[in-house]
Symmetry: C2
Subunit: 193 residues, 2 copies
DNA sequence: GTCTATAAGAAGATAGAC
DNA sequence: GTCTATCTTCTTATAGAC
């Protein structure tokens, strides 16, 4: 693996776990296995390194949602349920990219806030559109309520995912997975025709 | 106001907005209007100051939930809806205590993680019990589904609140409030008898 | 590209005068 | 209790040899 890739990989994990201020160039260098000044041969400064990670995380997150929604199922209900479960499994899997995304969408470092939120906003919108398309299919098929707007139901879906994401830090994986089942039951009752 | 109170007040806001690492003793001192070393006459160190704020925030959060649930209404549905709306309004109100609570429950500084989560876990459980009691009342009255467990429905409620909390950073207050209405509609459809 | 050495500044915290 | 002065450590970042 090229050094630059390794820097991106290790710093993703550190940023996700320790935050922006909590991650020093020294820690990154140590994990990569080089000395601190060598980092500056690959990135102009800490900010440039961080935004390189942001770029990659956005792409990964969108690809993940797309894949989760493209799984083969008989009904739209199953498709949504499977996607929901995949999301939850991913939370539990302690995936650095998802954690990175969730951490900085909520708590961007003050000096990078404007640039970060502009990016995340667009990314969230793209992802919501993907889900709304599946929900609309369910409405066309007649399995999902037609009085509610598809994008409203998509919003609620991501709202629950984000709520469960919050819980991951507090509760055990098993608890979150059990809670996710309950949450899904309530959600499906809420949107079904 | 006593200096110690002012320190607690100003540092709550700074911690909530900038995080633990992002908040320096120098910044706190400046906002309070004293010099940095004077802080150490009131608190042994930064950690002690932080945990003093944690204590107060927990109490405030639990009192807030209790009050939101004790509002006078005709039906349990209205009572839950009103509490939900109060919660959302509070998110939008940019309240430092709620933001503090939500920030550190999700992203505790690594070196304080164990002590913080132990506290928050107990606090969350107490709050969930308060809501479950109201939901059980709804079940007894017949307005809320009896096949689902009250505490599961309480869990989903807080999951949605936490999801909406996440959105506050990204979207405008108006958008979040509009989303909250939609989310409530789906939730109520999900739990009603 | 990677290293050693080092600068320049900010962080948490303490000593001791008033 | 608050201050000035100071210490130590850690931070981001650069200079320049190899």
């Amino acid at each position: 693996m090229h050094t630059k890739e390794k820097i991106r990989l290790e710093s993703t994990e550190l940023f996700a776990n320790l935050g922006y201020e909590g991650t020093s160039m020294a820690k990154i260098a140590e994990k990569v296995g080089i000395k601190k000044p060598s980092l500056y041969a690959h990135y102009k400064n800490k900010e440039a390194l961080f935004f390189d990670v942001v770029d990659e995380m956005e792409q990964e997150y969108e690809a993940f949602v797309q894949d989760s929604l493209n799984q083969e199922t008989d009904t739209i209900e199953e498709r949504l349920y499977l996607s929901f479960k995949t999301h939850v499994s991913d939370l539990a899997r302690d995936d650095a990219s998802i954690q990175f995304y969730n951490r900085f969408i909520q708590y961007p470092p003050k000096e990078l806030e404007d640039r970060l939120l502009a990016r995340f906003n667009k990314s969230e919108e793209r992802v919501r559109v993907l889900l709304a398309a599946v929900i609309e299919k369910g409405q066309a098929e007649g399995s999902i309520n037609r009085e509610l707007e598809a994008k409203s139901m998509a919003y609620t879906y991501f709202c629950l995912i984000e709520g469960l994401t919050t819980e991951v830090g507090i509760h055990s994986i098993e608890e979150v997975k059990a809670h996710a089942e309950v949450v899904w039951t309530v959600y499906w009752r809420g949107i079904q025709a």
